[in-house]
């Protein structure tokens, strides 16, 4: 299979997306009374705002995944990192305040959550880089540990797997619009990540560490350090995503079933594969998945007689379809491999 093929498919798929949007707009324009138009009517500024909030965990997981995998370490534990930071943010804010955190205490919770996620990523990095663990299985373990640990700790702290609700982070005025802090962080991080990867020497090291670690070693850059940086960044971004989900939108930790993160880390992985490791493309894909999620929430609010569980699977079905369509992506050629400096 040639490498050009996925990219062509991707463009094709994007084209289909544009066509669908155009068709829906036409329906709304010409048949304002049809049910389709009613659905299209959902799309307004409020809808976009809610989509952006839903994009936060997916896009941050995707950004993190890009840095880790580009540096040569496949991190499929992103879902687990989101769970850890979502839990930590609520737990810390709740415990230091005794139940009703102030805005300042919420921000402390946010910061500690990011730190917790980075520490977990550090553990994953040590296991993968020093002990040459199998990255896929270690990533799976990170997810399963988080899936057990967060509800376990919830029960220790609150006596049940769900936390009591807390306040969410206040919006602040940004020029003329009210801005949600995690959304703003995301809108800043995406271009910043793009810039870092494409226009800085750090970005070139990350690229080389995943594509040709030997060459990087030859020019005197420590491949191990670059890979640590990549994995720690995946922890940092996932931390922002998980805390952003918990403190920016939900205001509670929900530990039942697949937890409140509910597969968004996995969707994030698909988003960056679909976005071909480009932060901008990954953000676009995350936005697409989030808009489907927002659509199903809106349809439920409008009282459409469609069972919510059925609409709830739309994003997951879309991921499968997209993955089937994009198929194999061009991953960094040394990703998944261990590298030891100075060995021939």
């Amino acid at each position: 299979m040639s490498y050009a093929e996925p990219s062509r498919k991707r463009r094709w798929l994007a084209g289909v997306g544009v066509l669908v949007v155009a068709a829906l707009s036409a329906v709304e324009l010409f048949f304002p009374a049809s049910p389709v138009a009613e659905i299209v009517n959902i799309i307004d500024a409020n809808y976009i705002r809610s989509v952006l909030r839903l994009t936060v965990p997916i896009a941050f997981a995707a950004l993190g995944g890009i840095f880790a995998e580009k540096s040569g370490v496949i991190n499929i534990g992103l879902e687990g990192l989101l769970i850890i930071s979502a839990f930590t943010s609520i737990a810390v804010a709740g415990v230091i305040s005794g139940g009703t955190p102030t805005q300042f205490q919420l921000w402390i919770g946010f910061a500690v959550a990011v730190l917790a996620s980075v520490l977990f990523a550090l553990l994953f990095a040590v296991i993968c880089i020093e002990f040459k663990a199998d990255q896929i299985i270690a990533g799976l373990a990170v997810w399963l540990i988080a899936l057990g640990l967060a509800p376990f700790a919830s029960k220790v702290i609150w006596g049940q797997v769900n936390s009591p609700p807390v306040a969410t982070l206040n919006n602040f005025d940004l020029l003329v619009v009210e801005a949600n802090p995690p959304v703003v962080m995301m809108l800043v991080s995406v271009p910043a990540a793009w810039y870092a990867l494409n226009r800085t020497s750090f970005g070139r090291w990350i690229e080389a560490s995943g594509e040709n670690p030997k060459a990087l070693d030859t020019v005197g850059v420590d491949v191990r350090k670059v890979r640590y940086a990549g994995v720690l960044l995946s922890g940092f971004f996932s931390g922002l995503g998980g805390a952003g989900l918990a403190l920016g939108r939900v205001g509670q930790f929900i530990g039942g079933g697949a937890t409140m993160v509910n597969g968004r880390g996995w969707i994030g992985i698909t988003a960056y594969l679909f976005g071909n490791y480009n932060p901008l493309g990954a953000f676009g894909a995350s936005f697409l998945f989030a808009s489907l999620d927002a659509l199903q929430i809106r349809l439920q609010q409008l009282g459409y007689n469609i069972p919510s569980e059925l609409i709830g699977i739309i994003p997951y079905v879309t991921v499968v379809v997209v993955l089937a369509f994009v198929g194999r992506t061009r991953i960094p050629s040394a990703a998944g491999d261990h590298y030891e400096s100075g060995e021939e």
Partner: protein, 427 residues
């Protein structure tokens, strides 16, 4: 097997995909020699117990309780004593005697899901979707039995027919659901790790919707189907309980033996294993790798579906929400067992015991039962890093003079290069 130098590092190899990497990772696990596998599994268990004890201590320090087992001024009080937690965990698995039946019930179900994951692993596929295959298989079984029940005579004969129908439909539905990610990987190159996880979410959504909209028990508030008739349930033989049948355990053990024979004694099994370990060699040998991916995933899904069928026929006697995460536990069981169908038996027994014991620690010591979920993750984590144990072993001179061949697909070279990641099959 390989005389290629480290220069291959920069080679834009067509197989340098997620899948290619995962395949080679799998192969390293699959190829480990039996003794080393067992040692690594045991070491991983011991380490998980140690780390788990630390987690118990810390969480006991966080928790508040009436009578801490240990407290010191300046440090705080510790509510949970790790030793008594582990003691209750293991004692709770066998005492009172009724708990033996509960442990064996869990073991039986985990045998199916463990075998399901192991078969896929052997064929070079990560099946994380056993849970979804089990959920839909269970639904298929419940509906089929309810549908056929009115036309068969109540009694032993009718029961046998219903059980046979239920098992068949469960395996069929699970197999079809498992074949989807297999086909997506074979014909569209879609990564099965992600598709199977996504299909888990889709499966539970579909099952929930079908039951709540169409097949709901009208007399019940919760989302569940009507109960299957009593004579269609798997009958207990030794234990007087409604949740465990010796027949199911014997059947599951026989199935494990059958899978072992299938993998090691039949040409299909040989093709399956070669396409898992050396896909290119298998292709040269005339194996249709696409077909092999689909059929091995279908077989894996069928085993997951059988697990769902047994869950309905033995435990729940209906489809209901909140089916336990047997599929995810199956991943641990299989990895702990080195993906060997015979190794799955002790691994399933261990996890069955842990599951039962977790209820005891929650009931007797108020330690949350999710602790077992943490241990599950830790075990996988430690098994993922055989290198760690080898380093520890080398430091303490556990006779590790020979080159560590086994876990690296036999490609470890004496000059110590990282050739282990080019395990000789990637082209």
């Amino acid at each position: 097997m390989s005389d290629r130098g480290p220069d291959d590092e920069a080679d834009p190899n067509p197989d340098d995909s997620w899948q290619g990497r995962a395949d080679r990772a799998l192969e390293r696990l699959v190829d480990a020699s039996a003794v080393e596998r067992i040692l690594i599994s045991l070491a991983a268990l011991v380490l998980s117990v140690v780390v788990g004890a630390l987690i118990i201590l810390v969480s006991g320090w966080v928790a508040t309780c009436q009578s801490p087992f240990f407290s010191a001024s300046g440090v705080g009080s510790f509510c949970y004593d790790p030793i008594s937690v582990y003691y209750v965990l293991f004692k709770g698995a066998v005492w009172p005697p009724y708990n033996v039946a509960i442990t064996l019930k869990e073991t039986t179900l985990l045998l199916f899901t463990g075998l399901s994951v192991a078969v896929a692993f052997r064929a070079g596929m990560f099946n994380i979707g056993t849970q979804g295959q089990l959920v839909l298989g269970a639904l298929g079984t419940a509906l089929a039995v309810l549908w056929v029940a009115p036309v068969v005579p109540a009694g032993v004969v009718g029961g046998l027919i219903l059980i046979a129908v239920g098992l068949l439909v469960g395996a069929l539905v699970g197999g079809l659901w498992g074949a989807i990610p297999g086909a997506l990987k074979a014909y569209a190159d879609a990564n099965e790790v992600i598709t199977t996880i996504m299909l888990n979410f889709v499966a539970s959504g579909i099952a929930f919707t079908l039951v709540s909209e169409v097949f709901k028990d009208p007399e019940s508030q919760t989302v569940q189907t009507r109960a299957i008739p009593g004579f269609a349930q798997l009958q207990p033989v030794f234990f007087d309980t409604t949740v465990f049948s010796m027949l199911a355990l014997v059947g599951a053990l026989a199935l494990g033996g059958g899978i072992y024979w299938m993998l090691n004694g039949t040409s299909f099994g040989y093709d399956l294993r070669t396409s898992g370990v050396q896909p290119e060699a298998a292709e040269y040998g005339g194996v249709d790798s696409e077909k092999m991916m689909v059929s091995s995933m279908a077989l894996s899904g069928a085993l997951g579906g059988l697990g769902g069928a047994v869950y309905v026929l033995m435990v729940a006697s209906r489809w209901r929400t909140g089916i336990p995460s047997l599929g995810f536990d199956g991943i641990t069981v299989s990895i702990l067992a080195g993906n060997n169908p015979l190794g799955v038996v002790p691994a399933a027994l261990l996890f069955g015991a842990l599951k039962t014991g977790s209820l005891a620690i929650e009931f007797q010591l108020s330690v949350p039962k999710q602790l077992v979920g943490v241990l599950r993750g830790l075990i996988i984590l430690f098994i993922a890093m055989p290198e760690f144990f080898r380093m520890v072993g080398a430091r303490f001179r556990f006779g590790d003079d020979r080159p560590s061949v086994a876990t690296d697909g036999g490609a470890e070279t004496t000059d110590g290069s990282d050739a282990d990641d080019h395990g000789g099959d990637d082209r």
